[in-house]
């Protein structure tokens, strides 16, 4: 995140502003192929300069949404508006939308510079302006030295950057990125994620990215839409998606989570308490007001929010007792799998802040886990 995003004076959150006009509006969009419904009565607003991620497992409809924005598919029902204008009758070549393809789709018979110039030439831009624009785009993606190479003469990471430069060359209102980093290895992917965010900020273009990689979505996006079976399950900032998932599906899809099922014994302002196992303390987490006492609910709590003790902690309210079943050392952190007397497994993650860890906790040890009342979320079934 940039410094401007961190400064409290200008937090970028047009979705909280009632006055803000969305750039893209999906209004009750449905897309069917025969009996198969790819997109199911979906409505969503995306604002200018957002870095918006569509996240979901394959087949959830995220790519279909993107292809409808690009103009390669038309909705069966409903409307898609870009800048308030219905885009249904506009063919892909007339839309101020460009797309970066998953396979990059670089033209193999053209050089890097000609690939970038391709869209500009279609717009009949004067030659000197095209040359300047190519230069500008090449500097943006740091490929000036490779202008005359053919796509097969550069590496995968460089190809990815050429594809990005080509799709940004026409300065579109909206850039669509279809799994843009899927073909890169992990290290390169992380570097490129930051580069993407940088470029997005520099150009001020609205980015919509399709990905199945939740880490990628968390890193780059200003907001994430978690999708499943043609529906949007939740749209929120990465932090809210992670910390305050609205459903078990979202909690489970993003990151690691402990799901503890129980009966709601009572609710207070913004909190709910569940009793979940014989001989264990009740657990409290934050809750929305759709949680009713007496119903069955699930407490979702992230492993890193749990503390692990060798003796019962005194002043903590949420305490679980059990014994260590497994320890996984991951370098930067260790994951402990704790088994409760009733046989449920709960994960706790502890950062390895010290180089030589005092191994005071080991297999079969009796331990207590605890977390604060705001660490977990109580969710409906």
């Amino acid at each position: 995140m940039s410094d401007t995003a961190r400064a409290p004076v200008c937090v970028f959150a047009p979705w909280d502003d009632i006055q803000a006009k969305p750039l893209i509006q999906f209004q009750n969009v449905t897309k069917r192929w025969g009996d198969f419904t790819a997109i199911d009565d979906l409505s969503i607003d995306i604002y200018a300069q957002e870095f918006f991620a569509l996240l979901g497992p394959s087949g959830c409809g995220k790519t279909t949404m993107m292809r409808m924005l690009a103009g390669f598919e038309t909705p069966t029902e409903g409307k898609i508006l870009i800048d308030g204008q219905n885009v249904a009758p506009i063919p892909p070549n007339k839309r101020a939308v460009n797309m970066m393809f998953q396979s990059y789709a670089l033209f193999p018979h053209l050089s890097v510079a000609d690939n970038i110039a391709f869209g500009l030439k279609r717009d009949k831009m004067p030659t000197d302006q095209i040359t300047a624009r190519i230069e500008e785009m090449l500097s943006l993606v740091q490929l000036n030295k490779f202008a005359n190479r053919k796509p097969h003469q550069i590496s995968g990471g460089q190809r990815q950057r050429v594809a990005l430069a080509r799709s940004l060359a026409k300065a579109p209102k909206l850039l669509l990125l279809d799994e843009p980093l899927g073909a890169l290895d992990k290290k390169l992917r992380q570097d490129t994620q930051f580069e993407l965010m940088d470029i997005q900020e520099k150009t001020g273009t609205t980015f919509v990215i399709v990905t199945h990689d939740q880490e990628e979505a968390m890193t780059v996006a200003s907001r994430i839409a978690v999708m499943d079976h043609g529906k949007i399950i939740q749209v929120d900032t990465p932090a809210k998606i992670y910390e305050e998932p609205r459903s078990i599906y979202v909690a489970d899809f993003i990151g690691d989570v402990n799901l503890i099922e129980g009966n709601v014994s009572r609710t207070t302002e913004g909190h709910a308490t569940i009793s979940w196992a014989e001989g264990q303390n009740e657990l409290t987490g934050i809750a929305r007001n759709d949680i009713i006492p007496g119903s069955v609910a699930t407490l979702a709590v992230r492993p890193e929010k749990l503390n692990i003790y060798t003796s019962r902690p005194k002043d903590q309210s949420n305490v679980i007792k059990g014994k260590v079943l497994d320890i996984a050392y991951l370098g930067n952190m260790s994951t402990y799998v704790i088994e409760t007397p009733t046989g449920q497994q709960i994960k706790a993650q502890v950062a390895n802040t010290r180089r030589i860890q005092r191994r005071q906790i080991t297999w079969e040890d009796k331990v207590w886990l605890s977390f604060t009342e705001t660490a977990g979320v109580v969710l409906n079934q």
Binding site: N93, V97, F118, H152, Q153
Partner: protein, 270 residues
């Protein structure tokens, strides 16, 4: 290098003898001094000179070349269009019938193709000549082009065309600026295939040619019926030479481009 065993040596020699002995004899006798094709009477190149003074042969060669260039060019355009529709248009009513009919001439006996075309030309009152041969050759060679081009299009990454549309191309521009340059090698080999098929076609040409438009194969065939002359040996030798040069040239070019590509890719990784 491994030495071949005597068995392999014999098999190889037999195979090559079977393939090339007839041609070697033909080439040898094209340099024969005497008029008799089967009796060696000394080295000479006079039959080549004779050949180039023979108006009838030169005319026939010129007609053949014209027909081959025109028919293969038209066949390439039509065949590429047909292949594009077959691969890209997806399912449409009558698709199976259409694709079956495109490929039917591949298995149709030439005599039948020739005869039916002859009947058509008579029915519509078209005088037989260069035009009718061109039309006939286009008909039967188009399906070969279509087969070659469609096999390339099947492996063509469709997102390239979508990218072109996305960047502002109309459908036709996307085809002209992106698809066509990329499938060009297949289109060229389709053209070459159609060209060769037209060059050596005898059956269909003899049905559809007129008195003023004899092609080389027809000319050779009718000349041989009056007895093989050393001139025809000379002509055949020239044709063999051209084909040999063409094949060697094509294989060298493709070998070089593969080597270059591999080198480029190696450099890109580093």
């Amino acid at each position: 290098m491994r030495r071949l065993s005597w068995f392999n040596t014999v098999s190889l020699s037999l195979g090559f003898a079977f393939l090339y002995l007839p041609m070697i004899i033909l080439i040898t006798y094209s340099f024969n001094e005497g008029k008799l094709v089967t009796v060696w009477s000394g080295f000479s190149t006079k039959w080549y000179g004779e050949l180039f003074r023979n108006e009838a042969f030169l005319n026939a060669a010129w007609v053949t070349l014209k027909v081959a260039v025109m028919s293969s060019s038209i066949a390439t355009v039509l065949g590429t269009m047909a292949a594009y529709v077959m691969v890209r248009a997806g399912r449409f009513p009558g698709r199976t019938l259409f694709s079956g009919m495109i490929y039917a001439p591949l298995v149709m006996p030439e005599v039948i193709t020739g005869l039916s075309l002859l009947l058509l030309f008579i029915a519509i009152g078209l005088d037989r000549g260069v035009l009718t041969i061109v039309l006939a050759h286009t008909t039967f060679s188009m399906c070969f082009v279509s087969v070659v081009v469609s096999s390339r299009l099947v492996t063509f990454d469709q997102s390239l065309e979508e990218a072109a549309l996305d960047l502002g191309c109309t459908g036709f521009e996307a085809f002209r600026l992106v698809t066509l340059p990329i499938i060009m090698p297949a289109v060229v080999s389709g053209w070459l295939l159609a060209f060769t098929l037209s060059l050596d076609d005898l059956v269909i040409a003899s049905f559809t040619s007129g008195p003023s438009s004899t092609t080389l194969p027809i000319k050779i065939f009718s000349a041989v019926r009056l007895g093989v002359s050393p001139e025809i040996n000379a002509l055949s030798t020239i044709m063999i030479g051209l084909v040999t040069v063409g094949v060697i040239g094509a294989s060298l070019t493709s070998k070089r481009s593969i080597a270059k590509r591999q080198k480029d890719e190696q450099e890109a990784i580093q």
